[in-house]
């Protein structure tokens, strides 16, 4: 069977090997890179729609999976798998199923910001105290595009544009990706920025002078944006039976435990994982999460892109 894997190879390879050992099914995997932005495997699946080569897409996130689903590139998962998701995020038709959460957090350089002056909200990116020393990934692409679209969907276009305008006035750096944000904050070039828990953990684990803040946890705050892994069956896939087995292998608490212990540092989302509290110890329990309607986020995307171009890129 063929797996298109937008999840990092470092995270995914052992699980793929284990699946092969357990089932005897040979998996031919194709991996993505962050540098390709969203023009990697997602676009390959789009272009292969007439003659699908891929059986399962692992990764890509809810945002790009919703786009693929709306394009008719994804098939519904079996009902029992959809039901087994419980409260875990998933497409209502089961065209993508979510598991293994990560979060969009603030990564802060501890050498330049004392504890009392550190930011605590996405809104702090617009605080003049930090002018010229803040960064986000280029919001035209990848995860940050999804993030901005989610904000537009939640707060409306007017507030979204205002946030972008404030970012512009605060000389926010548009970095090449979330890993780039992490690197620049760790070096002290930027004081803080938005990145994922996966990237933030890399810097913390390496002993860089950074700390992670889960933003907007106070009363009335919007909460931290949660990303999560997704798996999806490709419509018209050549090996549906094998694809089904891989989905059942991935969507288990055992897999989520492995992902939590590995470099992905994910938090379990499946019902049994939630009951067992599968999470890396450093990620706090009871996080307040932003409520995102990913269908609405996809709908808000054109307005968000237009605003990004006009406001951040002067186009």
């Amino acid at each position: 069977m063929v797996l298109y894997c937008a999840t990092d190879r470092e995270i995914a390879q052992d699980l793929i090997d284990q699946f092969q050992q357990e089932t005897g099914i040979h998996v031919e995997a194709k991996f993505d890179t962050e540098a390709a932005k969203a023009v990697g495997l997602v676009q390959a699946i789009r272009q292969e729609k007439a003659h699908p080569q891929c059986d399962v897409l692992w990764g890509g996130g809810a945002y790009f999976c919703t786009i693929l689903a709306n394009d008719g590139c994804l098939a519904s998962a079996p009902d029992d798998l959809i039901q087994a998701e419980g409260a875990a995020p998933h497409d209502s038709l089961g065209r993508w199923l979510g598991f293994a959460a990560s979060y969009r957090v603030l990564i802060v350089n501890t050498d330049v910001l004392a504890p009392e002056s550190r930011p605590h909200s996405y809104r702090d990116l617009t605080d003049p105290r930090f002018k010229g020393r803040i960064g986000i990934a280029n919001p035209l692409f990848g995860g940050m595009a999804a993030h901005v679209s989610a904000l537009f969907a939640k707060f409306g276009e007017a507030q979204g544009r205002q946030w972008l305008t404030d970012l512009k006035q605060n000389d926010c750096a548009l970095c090449a990706g979330m890993a780039d944000v992490k690197n620049r904050v760790a070096s002290g070039e930027l004081w803080f920025g938005i990145t994922s828990t996966i990237d933030a953990h890399v810097a913390v684990d390496a002993g860089k002078p950074v700390t992670v803040i889960f933003p907007d946890q106070g009363p009335g705050d919007i909460g931290c944006l949660s990303g999560f892994g997704t798996v999806a069956l490709v419509a018209g896939a050549p090996h549906p039976a094998e694809a089904d087995k891989l989905l059942r292998f991935l969507l288990t608490t055992r897999t989520e435990k492995i992902l939590a212990a590995g470099p992905g540092q994910n938090v379990g989302l499946l019902p049994e994982s939630v009951a067992e509290n599968v999470r890396p110890a450093w990620i706090p329990q009871g996080l307040k999460l932003m409520d995102v309607d990913w269908d609405a986020a996809v709908s808000a995307h054109p307005a968000a892109v237009q605003a990004i171009k006009e406001i951040l890129l002067n186009q």
């Binding site: 995997a29 194709k30 969203a38 676009q43 599968v278």
Partner: protein, 590 residues
């Protein structure tokens, strides 16, 4: 009989055009082309900025490449080889690594820039650790000029190769005559006449390659037309994405055609090398005294694309040691890998690169990617061989008909953004009848040829133009057939230039990832995408290990080549007779 070369030439040109342009045409016709005006709205500045970056890149390549070629060509043979080895090593370093190292060393928080600024007295006048940590150097790393400098610094060997090729095939007596007639001014005038055309042709090639670069401008936070193309692809608007690249095509076509035309016109072939007794032009500082300027110029030229990345990498390697895990890490963090469950994960440990230092990380990277590395070396070698052989055939058949300037049009292929090539190939080959090609490595060969065949053609043209026509005519008079003449006369004489073309094709292919990522068959990953993937979550030891692995694999074919050249040099030094100095030769003739 006379029609046969014409048919062959047309067939060869059409084949080359199909290889280079078919993905673009496929993407142009993939989706309905609508709202083109809207797509271009507000992009005038971006287009202009992209052109400015490409202009800076070409200028930097000229400023580094031309003097380097002239000075190194005038140096002694042993110095010449070392200098060229260093200059060509620049081509092995992917530009995105150069950009990253420029940020690490010269950026606002750069290791060098901050140190220099502090030494110059611009540092914070405070002992407060926070003030010290906040000190940043306002620099130019995040500017268009910096993007151009990085790209020009990486691509200057193309200019240097073209200039050196012209220099070598020039009858050196004309310099001697010019010096006798007009002194140094005369030498400059002749040099300008001989060297400017190939230098400009190669600089235009650099201009074209820079136009569609995506990774470097992204890293240096500069918006280019390449980013707009990516954006349209993300939206699924392939035709619009392809259309955005169209304004670049005429520029590159003009550049390529001009380059090919200039290259053809600038041919100053001579038999002087064979005559042996003609004293070589030595200028006033020739011989051993020419070595120092050559070495200085080479060291200066390789600073951006070789010295900076190597310095950055060395720093990483030396400091690449992770702190030991503790139950509470910095800032009160708990042990990062612990899982808040009672049971340990039931299946094996993660095969991650993360380890205690550089060497374990390198071993981990090799374990994960050694199949990818071997596959990449073999495939890139095959592509380089096929492309160079095809370029030789193409140039030979078009040469007879004086159609070579047409080949400049193929240079437009360099203006096609890499993802469009990948997606175009999916559209072209993902069908039932072509499954064997699309599902195998053949599609990767097509992608790399589509991206870089124009480079192979350009460099091969220069190499073949170096061969004196008189030699081939003599072989023809001696009864040698065309293929025999090619094997016994043309290829041996053009060998250095052809090797350069092969190497350029090999290195560019082996480091390509934007198109490769899209079309590499599942289960057969290739090294560049794998390394970029592994570096994504990299800590210092892993990043250093991945960079070393990539550079080592790219350099692999150079080792036997360098060994062969070194043994030839040693042999030559042992056998060579004492060279007469110009005055001695003149006395002897008298």
């Amino acid at each position: 009989m006379k029609r046969r070369p014409g048919i062959l030439a047309v067939a060869a040109i059409l084949l080359a055009a199909a290889i280079v342009f078919s993905p673009l045409v496929a993407t142009l016709t993939a989706t309905r082309l609508h709202s083109l005006a809207e797509a271009f709205h507000g992009l005038a500045g971006t287009l202009g900025g992209s052109a400015a970056i490409a202009g800076v890149s070409a200028l930097v390549a000229l400023l580094l490449g031309v003097p380097l070629a002239i000075l190194v060509e005038r140096s002694r043979r042993s110095v010449n080889r070392v200098c060229w080895a260093l200059a060509l090593a620049v081509l092995m370093v992917p530009p995105y690594l150069v950009a990253e190292s420029s940020i690490v060393l010269l950026g606002p928080a750069g290791r060098i820039s901050r140190l220099v600024a502090t030494l110059l007295g611009f540092g914070p006048h405070s002992t407060n650790p926070i003030d010290l940590a906040r000190f940043a150097v306002p620099g130019f790393v995040y500017t268009r000029a910096a993007v151009g400098m990085v790209m020009g610094g990486c691509l200057f060997p193309i200019v240097a190769l073209a200039v050196a090729s012209a220099f070598r095939r020039t009858d050196l007596r004309i310099f001697e005559s010019a010096r006798l007639a007009q002194g140094r001014r005369g030498v400059f005038r002749i040099a300008a006449h001989v060297l400017i055309p190939p230098a400009l042709g190669a600089a235009l090639l650099v201009f074209a390659v820079t136009l569609t670069e995506f990774a470097v401008p992204q890293l240096l936070r500069v918006r280019t037309i390449g980013e707009a193309v990516y954006e349209q692809i993300q939206e699924g608007e392939l035709a619009t994405a392809a259309a955005l690249g169209l304004p670049l095509l005429p520029i590159v076509v003009a550049a390529g055609a001009l380059g090919a035309y200039l290259l053809a016109r600038a041919r100053v072939a001579s038999l002087s090398v064979l005559e042996g007794e003609v004293p070589k032009y030595t200028d006033r500082r020739a011989g051993a005294r020419a070595n120092l300027p050559a070495i200085i110029m080479t060291l200066f030229a390789v600073i951006p694309a070789l010295v900076l990345p190597v310095t950055s990498l060395t720093w990483l390697v030396i400091t690449a040691k992770l702190p030991p895990s503790s139950s509470t890490g910095r800032d009160g963090w708990p042990q990062p890998f612990s899982v808040a469950t009672a049971q340990a994960p039931p299946i094996g440990t993660h095969r991650v690169l993360r380890a205690s230092g550089f060497l374990p990380s390198l071993r981990g990277a090799w374990e994960l990617a050694h199949d990818d590395a071997i596959r990449t070396v073999l495939l890139a070698g095959l592509v380089a061989t096929l492309a160079t052989a095809f370029a030789i055939a193409l140039i030979r058949v078009t040469f007879r008909l004086r159609w070579r300037p047409i080949l400049g049009v193929l240079g437009a292929g360099l203006a096609v953004p890499a993802p469009l090539i990948g997606l175009g190939l999916i559209l072209l080959w993902d069908h039932g009848w072509s499954a064997a090609i699309y599902q195998g490595l053949a599609v990767v060969i097509l992608a790399w040829c589509a991206r870089f065949l124009p480079v192979a053609i350009f460099l091969t043209q220069g190499a073949l133009a170096r061969v004196p026509r008189e030699l081939e005519s003599a072989a023809a008079l001696a009864g040698r057939r065309p293929f025999e003449r090619l094997l016994s006369v043309v290829l041996p004489n053009a060998a250095p230039g052809l090797v350069a073309a092969w190497l350029a094709m090999y290195v560019l292919s082996a480091t390509e990832f934007s198109a490769t990522l899209l079309i590499a068959p599942p289960g057969s990953p290739l090294l560049a995408p794998s390394v970029v993937n592994l570096m994504r979550r990299g800590q210092d030891p892993e990043i250093a290990a991945c960079q070393v692995l990539l550079l080592a694999v790219i350099a692999l074919p150079l080792i036997p080549l360098a060994a062969a050249r070194l043994s030839r040099t040693t042999e030559w030094l042992a056998r060579r007779p004492a060279m007469p100095q110009p005055k001695e030769a003149a006395n002897a003739r008298q």
